[in-house]
């Protein structure tokens, strides 16, 4: 894998509010989803810990272990509250 690679990230609910953006393109230095969340959490002061988040890539839930690929669309899903 060539780094940095570009991915797209969308924010929802409390993370959208805390980031102040719906979505953005990011250049990432590693293919590790967990590392990406921790970096964003620190940079933007996210109030949710990584344990409260469920990752999704390309409109499907996925494991934290899934490696990122160029062009991936990432969403870090906060605890859901439908119904």
């Amino acid at each position: 894998m060539q780094f940095p690679m570009q991915i797209r990230i969308s924010y929802y609910a409390v993370l959208r509010e805390q980031r102040g953006l719906d979505e953005e393109n990011l250049l990432v230095e590693s293919a590790d989803l967990r590392e990406l969340y921790l970096r964003l959490e620190k940079a933007y002061g996210f109030s949710l810990s990584q344990k409260q988040i469920c990752p999704a890539v390309n409109d499907e839930f996925c494991a934290w272990e899934r490696p990122l690929l160029p062009g991936d669309h990432v969403v870090f899903i906060p605890p859901v509250a439908g119904g």
Binding site: Y12, C54, V80, A81, G83
Partner: protein
């Protein structure tokens, strides 16, 4: 996903079941989830639902397919609101159609329980003192293993 069974709607949910009722139908259970005027002891004046549409429709449709198989339903559907809702408005509707009432009641309950647990929809409540908060006390979001 072909044959979508879970839908998001930005408009009020005032509709009949969105599927044809077959002659073998013996029971149709409908659930309406309604915006309540309080939550955890705080007076709620309105709330706002926001969704991740692509994944909400996929995961919701998976929930309905699982219920159709598990409870031998004739048909099932769920529609969830997005946007700002006032107290008394319908936030979510579930329909479960079966040959007999037992399956229809059980399926309707299972569907709404799973929707609340698995579908990426979020709720921001506004209280009578003007305070707003994202409701995050329920579930972590990931799907249960099939």
């Amino acid at each position: 996903m072909a044959d979508q069974l879970f839908f998001l709607s930005a408009r009020p949910l005032e509709m009949a079941p969105p599927f044809a009722l077959p002659p073998s139908l013996g029971a149709l259970v409908t659930f309406d989830g309604v915006v309540r005027d309080n939550n955890m002891g705080k007076p709620v004046v309105r709330l706002e639902y926001t969704a991740y549409p692509a994944l909400a429709e996929r995961e919701g449709t998976r929930i309905l397919r699982e219920a159709i198989a598990r409870f031998t339903l004739l048909a099932a559907c769920c529609v969830h609101r997005t946007g700002v809702l006032e107290v008394g408005e319908v936030a979510v509707k579930v329909w479960a159609a079966a040959a007999h009432r037992g399956e229809a009641f059980a399926a309707c309950q299972a569907i709404i329980d799973q929707v609340k647990e698995r579908v990426p929809i979020w709720k921001r409540e506004t209280y009578s003192d003007g305070e707003q908060t994202w409701v995050t006390c329920q579930h972590a979001g990931p799907p249960a293993s099939p």
